[in-house]
């Protein structure tokens, strides 16, 4: 019991150290001269364009549920639901838009990157890169990192807008608000800085996802089982990291 606990703690601290090392290397490598535009654009297309439909789809369903549930709660506590647009919009901007987008990106982009880097690792392509004198961090991680930061920020803005629009439609169809009431109530609660906070959240989630996935991809063990395990680990680690960062940022902004 104590032995396994100690082993786990040592492993965890080692992993954290290696992760920070990867982060440092990535940041240093961003400024090294040959900037790989082609790879960057390809990754941006994969991250942002490829995930757009899924994100919009999921987020719109989430928005519908959110506004219905907040109406339910407001009716229960203060017996009327006239504040619902403002409240639901606050919840969407501060919490739901960024987090749901990031969790979706984790499973789509993060898992995809781990699987890709992991299979490169086990087919010894990464060793081949090293032989050619190319730093794998510079070649693989940096374009993915930059692309995901930008992609996640953009997707967060889009997700927030779609979310708001869906809540708007549902509140008219199902809860009986008119457009005017909805917008008036909305502007009373939501400020522009809320959207900015949401963007900051999106960008910080975008920082974590590719680093986590590349980290697990580099550590991939050989064989089909190794790729599966690495992908699972990366998804779990990123999701936990996202929820913790979300908590820290919410705490800091309030």
């Amino acid at each position: 019991m104590v032995e396994t606990l100690g082993k786990n703690v040592i492993q965890l601290s080692q992993a954290t150290f290696e992760f920070i090392l990867l982060l440092q290397q990535t940041i240093l490598n961003v400024f090294k001269p040959p900037f790989r535009w082609k790879e960057f654009v390809k990754q941006l297309e994969f991250v942002a364009n490829g995930s757009l439909i899924i994100v919009v789809f999921c987020v719109s369903f989430a928005a519908m549920v959110t506004i219905l549930e907040s109406s339910f709660h407001m009716k229960m506590v203060i017996q009327n639901d006239s504040m619902v647009p403002g409240f639901a919009a606050m919840l969407i901007f501060k919490e739901l838009g960024a987090v749901v987008t990031a969790l979706l990106l984790t499973s789509r982009v993060g898992a995809g990157m781990t699987a890709e880097v992991g299979s490169m690792k086990i087919t010894e392509q990464i060793d081949a890169l090293k032989m050619l004198g190319i730093d794998p961090v510079h070649y693989l991680v940096v374009p993915r990192w930059l692309a995901t930061i930008i992609g996640a920020t953009l997707l967060t803005v889009i997700a927030n807008m779609v979310c708001l629009y869906c809540a708007f439609l549902v509140s008219q169809a199902y809860l009986g608000f008119t457009e005017g009431i909805f917008i008036t109530n909305l502007t009373r609660f939501v400020r522009f800085s809320d959207l900015f906070q949401s963007c900051v959240k999106g960008a910080s989630f975008g920082t974590v996802i590719p680093l986590m996935s590349c980290y697990w991809g580099f550590r991939c063990q050989s064989g089909a089982e190794g790729v599966g395990t690495a992908t699972t680990n990366s998804v779990v680690a990123s999701s936990v990291a996202i929820i913790m960062i979300d908590f820290i940022l919410s705490f800091m902004f309030s």
Binding site: I54, F57, C58, F61, A62, M64, V65, T66, L68, E69, S70, F72, H73, M76, V77, I78, F87, M90, L91, K94, E95, L96, V99, L103, L104, T106, S107, R108, A111, G112, T114, A115, E116, G118, S119, I122, G223, A224, E225, G226, V227, G228, T229, T231, T232, V235, V236, S238, S239, V240, I243, M244, D246, F247, S250, F251, S254
Partner: protein, 221 residues
């Protein structure tokens, strides 16, 4: 055995996720309730919102990464290394031998894990309520029974059960139908994670809508 394995592996992750989800919801609700001076309702409201809506959704997302991806990776590996064909050669039905125990195990243990996560979220909320909003613990708990009615808990648990079913179905299917080597396993895991999340969001919407309609029918309004 499968139940034990799935549960123990995800126990800590789920508990922690639940704790943080509760904490986040409390922080958010504090900011809103302060404007009304209604901090007394904080505990009840945050708990109710977490149990009915945000909690199951976010924790199920976590589990789809943890349990779903793990299972489909395992089944995919079995498929790719031809272990499933070997079982068939031995005259056993792979569906019965491999899929069924895993399916049941995932449904049962995800259900309990989600329940655990929701339970932990109450404590997360309580802790942060004390730390952040200055609401002491008794005050936090006082309004929970009045606001979190029995139907809310049932709704939350029904959601958990539906999510568990969705998760189990998708990850066993995707894992079982893997093709093409190590790359195929990676692809199967990615597909599992993505389609599970999409289906969970849809299931969330359906249960909320259906629950609302059924409640209306039952109460006769």
């Amino acid at each position: 055995m499968q139940i034990w394995r799935v549960s123990t592996q995800s126990f800590a992750t789920t508990g922690m996720a639940g704790f943080f989800v509760g904490a986040i919801m409390t922080v958010q609700f504090t900011m809103q309730m302060k404007e009304f001076g209604a901090l007394g309702y904080l505990g009840g409201l945050a708990t109710s919102a977490t149990i009915r809506e945000i909690g199951p959704l976010l924790i199920a997302f976590m589990l789809s990464g943890k349990v779903g991806a793990f299972t489909s990776a395992e089944l995919g590996t079995m498929r790719v290394t031809e272990q499933i064909d070997a079982i068939r050669c031995l005259g056993a039905d792979p569906l019965q031998e491999i899929i069924l125990p895993r399916f049941i195990a995932i449904v049962v243990s995800s259900f309990f894990l989600l329940g655990l996560g929701l339970f932990m979220s109450i404590f997360g909320g309580m802790f942060l309520g004390g730390l952040f909003a200055g609401v002491n613990y008794e005050e936090y708990f006082r309004h929970i029974p009045t606001i979190v009615a029995f139907p809310s808990i049932v709704a939350g648990l029904i959601k958990c059960f539906v999510f568990a079913l969705v998760l189990a179905t998708i990850c066993t299917f995707k894992g079982y139908s893997t093709t093409g080597g190590a790359k195929g396993v990676g692809r199967a895991v990615v597909e599992t994670a993505v389609s599970t999340m999409v289906c969970i969001v849809i299931a969330d919407w359906m249960t909320s809508f259906m629950g609302d309609i059924i409640l209306r029918l039952v109460s006769g309004v």
